[in-house]
Amino acid sequence: MKRRLRRLVVAILVSGLLTACSAGAGSAPQPTSTSTAGEDSSLVIGFSAEPANLDFTRTDGAAIPEALLVNVYEGLVKLDQSTGEIVPLLAESWTVSEDRRTYEFTLREGVRFSNGAEFTAEDVKFSIERVKSDAWTISLKKGMDVVESVEVLSPTKVRVVLSKPSNSWLFAMTTRIGAMFSRTGVDDLANKPVGTGPYVLKSWRRGDSIVLERNENYWGEPPAIKTVALRYFKDPTAMTNALLSGAIDVVGTLQAPEALDQFTDDDRFQVIEGTTNGEVTLAFNNESGPTSDIRVRKAIKHAIDHQALLDTAWAGRGFLIGSHVPPTDPWYEDLTGLYPYDPKRAKDLLAEAGHEKLRLRFRIANLPYAVAAAQVVAAQLAEVGITAEIEPLEFPARWLDEVFTKADYDMSIVAHVEPRDISTFGNPEYYWRYDNKEVRDLLAQADAGTDDEQVTAMKRVARTIAEDAAADWLFLLPNLIVAKKDVTGLPKNRIGEAFDLTTLGRS
């Protein structure tokens, strides 16, 4: 009896062990970062925010487009990494009518989706109309509202008619809403993305990594790296450790700028420092509470020493901006001089507003840059008599609910990373609750006008919201990339939503 029991136990253990040996598999094996150039080259890149699923038509956030746009999904146009200009991608060329309402695109031929289907003008019509339908639920879909109709002229020619001229539309077509989907490839977007891009999804181990493999049937120039693994690290130090110990090749977004010094002096690594679209914004509740008084807002802006804040909170990496515009936008103007560090002026303004001692609810997103910046802001505000009570809210769950939807806050901090999102100041429902008709009119003018008119109007928008102290712009997040010396083609500035893998190589 004992013998049989023992054998049974052993059998159970062994079979259990065998099952356990594939623990954590998800699906396919991971590349390790040792292979270099040639047919089997691979690269491992680290990021901090993991996508919840692969469907950016229904799930918001920057993580999914970062991984999939331009790499797996392509649009008619894309942004050139170095010049920031809109260049052809799936559309070979296009014409714009006199009244600037009609766009005619000539599509590339011989393009196939990863499921084998051909890419034709029908897919363009399908994709654009899908954005406007219920299938897309994210807020950015509004960018397609201006489209009145899409006409298929031939398998390679499509006509898009807008209800009014719009400068932002073509730009928006370089973002996620411009991605081209196959009519037969949208049944499981959350897990199976089907695109025309140079990479296809090979595997996804949740909590660990997404593996992309070169699309052998790609219509264009094949990318240099065959397999790219995108690994996600919640802890910034774990990511830098992984680079130091050789487990990854690139740190795509460094969230621990203090750690940069380890790499600048190390010959094995290269450091890239550029700009992004991420404005770390100190939001004010313009509608209710003490911050609805412009004098209070101006006082706060004068009380903050932005350079000291940047030095302390983000190791001095990053750029100071005076409005909601990064230097890479055509209408950028240095407005940092509008509110110089002047605690005395701040105190005077507060006294004028009748708030010598003020208590504000500082409900921030629970993210590293926000927590760090908030502590500096609170300390600086304390010097002028304002007590800012920091309350970090889980991001996104609670922050979205309390601050973003209900606007239940006095001040908040979060980085706004979407390109050209200054237009949110034209929406009085947006969480800053800033209601200025002049700004709305200017934004409409900018959208409808010529290129020059757009630049002029947008400059005025930027200046107006700065003068109005609608918010305070603490700094612009830097594009901090650290990589092994032999990796080439890394982007200096992050101008779009995607982390473009097509330019990467190993020397």
């Binding site: 594939s22 623990a23 598999a25 094996p29």
Partner: protein, 316 residues
């Protein structure tokens, strides 16, 4: 004895049921609308309502609860609102990873604690014994994630002997798997080993004073001989019991270690679920953890009754 087992089984089931109600209600109270979080920044109200209907979160709580529990019993944990993937396989996969981690940590703990504990007990009046005892006390006081951070800083970053984290399934790459397992197992296991050392020490000390040991020595056996013959087996019972009970501490302690070493285990799944307000996922993970804890206690109970009839009788 059989009656006792039946009694304990009923208790287990009842507690599980109560726990499931507690967990479900708790999740229902969680602020932050999961539909909104899943759909993101200012999704349209229609979209939110549609998602709620799709996942049945607009039904009365009791209905949702019964549906969920019914599924649990058949092993169906549902489909996540956020990842759109079935939850059961995800949990199973991650659970296995955590079990590897916890299992190897236990091995480390035992390998450390048994010899050190015995030594500390046998030499408890001498300096070496006192030092060992003191060392184990210090070991208990170190947070396991601190041990992890230090191990990474030394072995992975400074000396580049081992990877700083990550995970590879053993079937895929046995060497890589072992390399990645060593540091986290050490971090989790050494601290646990310190705790265990103290228990081993006391158990052995007690045994040393027992009558039968004195008798054995009187009969002429050396201390180590006597220990080996009689003592170890008797000391093993409480130690094994403690080890099993420590399993729950290890399971939860693994949460932090998984963060430091970027291991895709159950702990990180839980944290992700909470952050994404993935209610069904969190409910599923919590129930699995609760089940593990209760099962371990149950098994220890039953095993003890089987192994030591004195206690079985005393309880009945």
């Amino acid at each position: 004895m059989f009656l006792h087992i039946v009694h304990r089984t009923l208790a287990l089931v009842l507690t599980l049921l109560l726990a499931s109600i507690a967990v479900f209600l708790f999740m229902a109270v969680l602020p932050g609308d999961p539909a909104r979080v899943a759909l993101g920044v200012n999704a349209t109200p229609e979209a939110i309502a549609a998602l709620r209907a799709e996942f049945g979160t607009d039904r009365p709580l009791l209905v949702q609860y019964l549906d969920w529990v019914g599924g649990l019993v058949t092993g169906d944990f549902g489909v996540s609102y956020v990842t759109r993937a079935p939850i059961g396989p995800q949990i199973a996969d991650r659970l296995l990873v955590t079990l590897w981690l916890v299992g190897s940590a236990m091995v480390v703990a035992v390998v450390v604690a048994v010899p050190l504990g015995i030594l500390a007990a046998v030499r408890h009046r001498r300096l070496s014994g006192i030092l060992l005892s003191g060392l184990s006390q210090v070991g208990v006081a170190i947070p396991n994630f601190l041990a992890g951070i230090l191990l990474v800083a030394l072995f992975a970053v400074r000396w580049r002997l081992l990877p700083s984290g990550g995970w590879v399934p053993p079937a895929v790459d046995p060497l890589g798997f072992l390399q990645r397992l060593i540091l986290p197992a050490l971090a989790l296991g050494l601290v646990q080993g310190a705790v265990l050392t103290r228990y081993v020490r006391s158990a052995i000390l007690d045994v040393l004073r027992e009558d039968y040991l004195r008798t054995a020595r009187a009969k002429g056996l050396t201390l180590s001989g006597a220990l080996r013959r009689h003592g170890l087996r008797n000391a093993a019972i409480p130690v094994v019991t403690v080890l099993a009970l420590q399993l729950t501490t290890l399971l939860i302690g693994a949460v932090v270690i998984e963060r430091v070493f970027v291991i895709p285990g159950l702990g990180s799944l839980l944290l992700d679920g909470v952050a994404n307000r993935d209610l069904l996922l969190v409910q599923g993970v919590v129930m699995v953890l609760v089940l593990a804890v209760l099962l371990v206690n149950f098994v220890v109970d039953v095993l003890y009754t089987v192994l030591d009839p004195r206690i079985g009788r005393a309880v009945a």
